[in-house]
Amino acid sequence: MANKIRVATTSLAGCFGCHMSFLDIDERMLQLAEAVEFDRSPITDIEHCTNCDIGLIEGGVCNSENVHVLREFRKNCKTLVAVGACAINGGLPAMRNFIPLEECLTEAYLDGIGVENPQIPSDPELPLLLDKVRPIHEIVKIDYFLPGCPPSADVFWKFLTDLLEGREPSLPYELVHYD
């Protein structure tokens, strides 16, 4: 058991769709579990990752907490992987980049339709929003990219088995898609 590959996963500004797709590897998960153990991940409830081999990041970076989590992963994962469209180019959350943040916050919390008790949330517990949603490669160094919205279960399987079996990961044409 000691030489199992440790994998951590997280979702930043994402929808957990990539995680759901990962789970779609279905019964192959059992096969994977023989070689892999999960560190920080929604699957385990471990809060902080430590000394991992692989970190899978879903979602782009939209707020300060995303930056902290991403940095924790970079620090603790030998191989860091951008998973899905949002991690790679900001994805759908990045479509707010067309609207200045000031307008977004004003609309949502101050003068939008149906806003009661208008105020910008200011609790120090809340992460602040970045002015733009960014792909994760603009914040930390990324080793591999798995495109797709979400990447299919086969993409996860192909990538992880390549890595586990010591091959340079590669995706055939059928597995490369951006949607």
Binding site: L92, A94, M95, K132, R134, P135, P147, Y178, D179
Partner: protein, 238 residues
């Protein structure tokens, strides 16, 4: 004996006046391209079709074929550079495939798939670009424009109109519309125009036609762009 040049070591016959692209396509060899379309005057701007001719980089779509040329196209280095040029187009605009009606049928995406592009590599420009949904049938999403000028050429050469032009300089280039208001609704465009259908990306779209083809059956879901391109363009060049 017809004249020939070699493309990646293979002899390609050509006739005088043909470009490298025309001769290669006619011979069933694909060279990646975005701004080129066999029906319209070659433009030579996207630079995806750059090939090495006797040691010098040239655009295959505009460079004339000549006897004995030694042309390299499918080398690892050239394809890596093509991938980088494609990535430049992706970071210059705002290309969010999951929310684009053209996804699956988009040539920019198709070329990127073909080149096994997995990320955008460069820092994004976060360009502030607008949409023009003023016309009842045709819309422009400037976020996806790659300045290939196919709509400009199609409007002039196929539709005998002059609906589009590229304005501005350098990184500030943008597509403009020939109408008093600058909006598509006041232009001569018609949903049946060639110019409304020629866009290789999702920048010019026909309204109410999106997502009609299910995922898995779209153009580039299973067929690579080289195959699609040769099937559709071979005839015009042949």
């Amino acid at each position: 004996m017809s004249k020939t040049f070699t493309l990646d070591g293979k002899p390609i016959p050509f006739e005088d006046g043909q470009t490298i692209m025309q001769a290669a396509t006619a011979a069933g060899v694909y060279i990646p391209h975005l701004c080129h379309h066999p029906e319209f005057t070659p433009h030579g701007s996207c630079k995806l079709c750059n090939v090495n001719v006797n040691g010098r980089n040239c655009s295959a779509c505009t460079f004339p074929a000549t006897e004995g040329q030694d042309v390299l196209s499918e080398t690892t280095e050239i394809n890596q550079d093509r991938q980088k040029i494609t990535q430049m187009l992706f970071v210059e605009g705002n290309h969010f495939c999951p929310s684009c009606e053209k996804s699956g049928n988009c040539q920019l995406q198709g070329v990127a798939y073909h080149l096994n592009m997995l990320d955008n590599h460069f820092p994004h420009f976060y360009a502030e670009r607008k949409m023009d949904a003023s016309h009842p049938d045709v819309m422009i999403d400037h976020n996806r424009c790659i300045f290939c000028t196919l709509c400009v050429r199609a409007s002039q050469q196929a539709d005998s109109k002059d609906v589009f032009a590229i304005s501005g300089r350098g990184i500030n280039k943008h597509l403009i519309v020939n109408s008093e208001s600058g909006q598509l609704k006041d232009s001569d465009i018609d949903a049946g125009d060639r110019a409304a259908h020629i866009c290789p990306t999702g920048a010019i779209l026909i309204k109410r036609t999106g997502y009609t083809v299910p995922i898995g059956q779209r153009i580039y879901d299973h067929k690579q762009i080289d195959q699609v391109s040769l099937e559709t363009e071979h005839e015009s060049h042949g």
